[in-house]
């Protein structure tokens, strides 16, 4: 794992969480925020997921399709995960396991 500054680290964590949520089934922006909040990640500013989603899409980790909202409203953009995205998620999981183990050790000694 390369050295990261704090904001990159936070973005990396958020990106990993988003990948994981999207991997569980296609979803859209507001729903991702609701899911993050269900897991207790309430400190995330809602708007901050969109620059990340743009980047993840550029890097081909996620793809989108537009579908009509069930209630018959306007079209909505749904994200789903790609092969590259699944690989990136596995990579993140491994990194995260290492970091969290080390951090926990530091905090608990």
């Amino acid at each position: 794992m390369t050295a990261l500054d704090t904001s990159q680290l936070l973005k990396g964590i958020l990106e990993g969480c988003l990948l994981s949520i999207i991997a569980k089934g296609e979803t859209y922006g507001y729903e991702m925020i609701e899911k993050l909040e269900q897991y207790g990640l309430t400190m995330v500013k809602e708007g901050s997921i969109y620059p990340l989603l743009l980047r993840m899409r550029k890097e081909n980790l996620v793809a989108v399709k537009t579908k009509a909202v069930p209630s018959g409203g306007p079209q909505r953009k749904y994200y789903y995960i790609t092969e590259d995205g699944i690989a990136a998620l596995e990579h993140f999981k491994k990194n995260w396991a290492e970091i969290s183990t080390s951090v926990n050790k530091i905090l608990n000694t």
């Binding site: 922006g29 507001y30 809602e46 708007g47 620059p51 743009l54 980047r55 306007p74």
Partner: protein, 248 residues
């Protein structure tokens, strides 16, 4: 879907900002619609724009813009359209004043300068797309490029005033042909931009003067009055179309 005034303003500013930083229209529409959708959901639960974006609108727009690529293809297309439009306006203006006379300097100079500008613009956009310059530097590059283009056109005009000798006087059938070419460009641009502006403006601007000169009088005062009325009516059309766009 009804957004608060604050959210609508933010969304509109974002659209303009992304457009001015050269993003693709399709991608702009996508992200703008997505954010509007999110803001609508957030507002239903009592959150404001400020709550959602969590930073200054400017900082947020910059962050979004950073993740979108500069669409130089689309902007080259715009450039070509602008230059074509410019030529059509020069042609129409000369025809409506019944003085379509050209010197070698003009006939070679304008196309040469036009081609040079299109070429330089493509190179500049490619250069800017490949390198991620800070916004200030991009603005400066684009600014000096516009100055350079204007300078080239002015140079042709000055050279022509000083040394140009009229070698072609376009009259009769050929003037009509030029008229058709210019009109064709306007129609093409109107179709491309899917808006009536490129037809309404030239018609209002040139048609009254052309009719006056051809069939009524070439008295300068009457022509001035007609031109003034033309400009005024264009202004009215613009205000009207702005208003109807707001409503839509």
């Amino acid at each position: 879907m009804e957004l608060s005034a604050e959210s609508r303003e933010f969304i509109e500013n974002l659209r303009v900002y992304l457009f001015a930083t050269g993003k693709s229209e399709k991608e702009i529409e996508e992200i703008v619609r997505e954010l509007a959708d999110h803001l609508y959901e957030a507002e239903k639960r009592g959150k404001s724009v400020q709550n959602v974006i969590g930073m200054s609108p400017k900082a947020y727009m910059e962050e979004i813009a950073r993740e979108m690529r500069f669409d130089y293809k689309e902007w080259t297309k715009y450039g070509i359209m602008i230059i074509l439009g410019f030529f059509a306006f020069i042609l129409m203006n000369d025809i409506s004043e019944l003085r379509a006379n050209y010197s070698w300097i003009q006939m070679i100079g304008y196309p040469l300068v036009g081609a040079l500008i299109i070429f330089a613009m493509m190179k500049l956009f490619q250069f800017m797309a490949a390198n991620r310059f800070p916004k200030m530097k991009e603005m400066m590059l684009l600014g000096s490029f516009s100055l350079f283009s204007i300078f080239l056109f002015v140079a042709v005009i000055i050279l022509d005033k000083r040394y140009g000798e009229v070698v072609i006087e376009i009259q009769g059938f050929y003037a009509f042909l030029l008229f058709l070419i210019a009109a064709g460009i306007f129609v093409g641009l109107a179709l491309w931009s899917k808006s009536w502006v490129m037809i309404i403006v030239p018609v209002l601007l040139f048609f009254p003067e052309l009719v006056m000169r051809l069939f009524i009088t070439d008295d300068p005062v009457s022509l001035m009055v007609v031109n003034f009325i033309s400009l005024l009516s264009i202004l009215v059309v613009f205000i009207y179309s702005l208003k109807s766009e707001r409503k839509a």
